[in-house]
Symmetry: C2
Subunit: 410 residues, 2 copies
Amino acid sequence: MTLQHVNGERLWGSLMEMARIGETPGGGSRRLALTAEDGRARDLFCGWAREAGCAVTVDRIGNIFARRKGSDAHAPPVVFGSHLDTVPTGGKFDGPLGVLAGLEVMRRLQEQDIRTRAPLELVNWTNEEGSRFSPMTMGSSVFVGDVALDFALSRQDPAGITVSDALAKLYPHTELAPVGGRKFAAYLEIHVEQGPLLKEGGEAIGIVAGSYKALYFVATVRGEAAHVGPTLMEQRRDAMAGAAALTLEVERIGRARGRDGRSNAPHVEVFPNVRGVIPAEVRLSCDVRHADPTESRAMADELRDACGRIARERGLEIALEQYFEFGPIECDAAMASLVRDQASALGLACRDLLTVASHDAVPMMRHCPSALFFIPSETGISHNEAEYSTPEQCRHGADVLLNAVLQLAR
Amino acid sequence: MTLQHVNGERLWGSLMEMARIGETPGGGSRRLALTAEDGRARDLFCGWAREAGCAVTVDRIGNIFARRKGSDAHAPPVVFGSHLDTVPTGGKFDGPLGVLAGLEVMRRLQEQDIRTRAPLELVNWTNEEGSRFSPMTMGSSVFVGDVALDFALSRQDPAGITVSDALAKLYPHTELAPVGGRKFAAYLEIHVEQGPLLKEGGEAIGIVAGSYKALYFVATVRGEAAHVGPTLMEQRRDAMAGAAALTLEVERIGRARGRDGRSNAPHVEVFPNVRGVIPAEVRLSCDVRHADPTESRAMADELRDACGRIARERGLEIALEQYFEFGPIECDAAMASLVRDQASALGLACRDLLTVASHDAVPMMRHCPSALFFIPSETGISHNEAEYSTPEQCRHGADVLLNAVLQLAR
């Protein structure tokens, strides 16, 4: 089969147009899941997908599927996509690249009038980021049955709005389809790398061979509310100071592992969080990650020990509860080969790497043969307004996606 | 003049009835300033004050004055009171004791048909705690002209509601009086001690001779938002970890001063505060306090040094801004003597002490001869549901207030 190429300018134009929805002063995008901004992004995407000849459906968790018929109506679809939601400090690429590269595949096939055997479906998964509603990769996790639909719909944002409420506001008149219950022939996702490895190595494509093992916790630190003034320093059981000590321990645990370890304490809730009262309770979200699962578990053990030590030293109670884990995954070797072969045929340098973060492709890996691949990040930074890949890097990624889709669906 | 005594049972009954407004599961009260709960407390208080023969007015910052006529209508009033608002984790005594002991004075004079020469005024100051709106001691500070009325009215709570909006909701049909502009003959405030000193020493009354010097800051820690997963530990500029290091430095600075020093970092705002993003910015409120003002300034210098060191070590920016200071005050010696004499005449053991926290009496000290005195705290803790003084301790305090008022206003 001859190699196909996308229209790189059109892809770039769509990325820039999408980025204007929820545009931030620093050149990024803020489109939290199922907000009005996400709604506008969804509408723009659906309009584009219909123009590209696709039939659009939305399921009960808000996942959007844009389907292009194949010559064999009974064949399971080849599916590709990513997410349009962002973190509050989001860039232009994390998520939208995967959706809009997929859109470019649909547009290219339409204008070249190429009909595949298998149907194709381009998907926008709901709430990949988990910034507004927890857990993350919500839409894809519900689709594959890892998370129950009712549980997901009941999740609340910090203002108490549920996923169900937010969906009803975005889709008051749309009949939503059942979630899941059908098999894909294959799933492909292209994403921007969120670290510096491809940029450092000079490769155009990073093929995800597996993942880190990540363990996610909430540490609830309980002390005693008291007046900030008269209460003697020796009398205090200050939950904030305990949480600060724990935050530094979390950081130390990751740093001690060099380039293969990560650890975070990025989210905190303080009660009562007023200037006149020594904090009674702090809930600190934290995680530990390592390429080697044995090391991840050792990091979690160190975290548990640190909680016990800080609690004893400070007269606090600290309860450490694991709420999520991810990996290690091993990606489908045949799917990885197929992507690698297309990149090579296109003359693009590749390397294998591990993903540290989860993506919608991760739940999909238990559902059907799946591949996840990255393009370089020029700035090596993501979840930041400065996130950047060049038009050429985006085009190369979309070229690989287009040819991989054709291989799978021809 | 013969010594007078309050009705201790009635005082206790009123304290317990007031505490049921905004009652918390742990036996405390939650009545943030100008909320619906504060409104109900105000209504209960105004009804009681009218029954006790007082005329009630509310001023434009929401301070409530319950006035009892004197035989000389032109004499400046003798004023006493405190506040009915609480912190989110408030107890039954911090604030209400001063207001309801004052109410008991009014009730006792009414039933004994005692007419004073000077008019008496019982005051409930607005937003002493500063938990909902900053700054604290708002009503009394506006009254004496330390804080501009328009500035105070424009202050917002975390939901963006202004003091002005909140007042309009509580008083839609009340014509509010001008704030301040008149002199008091004297001001008296009784308050529960918020530390362990009277309990340790066995005294019934603590006479405040002066205050600590307290300096209040906001430290704004700026790092860089980035993905919690792929971003290498060595790449990070994590504002949360920097704020954690600063929180521990704040604690160390206070602890190093033994029983005479205090330091706090009780309030934090994190941006973006989501699980997927390394925090870009943290705003940490902190303060340092010492009985010796030279030491307070040395503590502030250490805090500033710590900010610089942490910023350098971690590649962060940290801006430390002082937003408030308090003390040292020296209390009016003649007023302190008058209170001490009444306590002695009543057979109550006294000691002098310094206040670590501010109270409404502090702004009043620049306005008129003022006295602030404490009763013991059984638990030595305040701003906590476990705050507790016995009925007898409350009665002793109110007896001192009653006789001091009569001395000043006879």
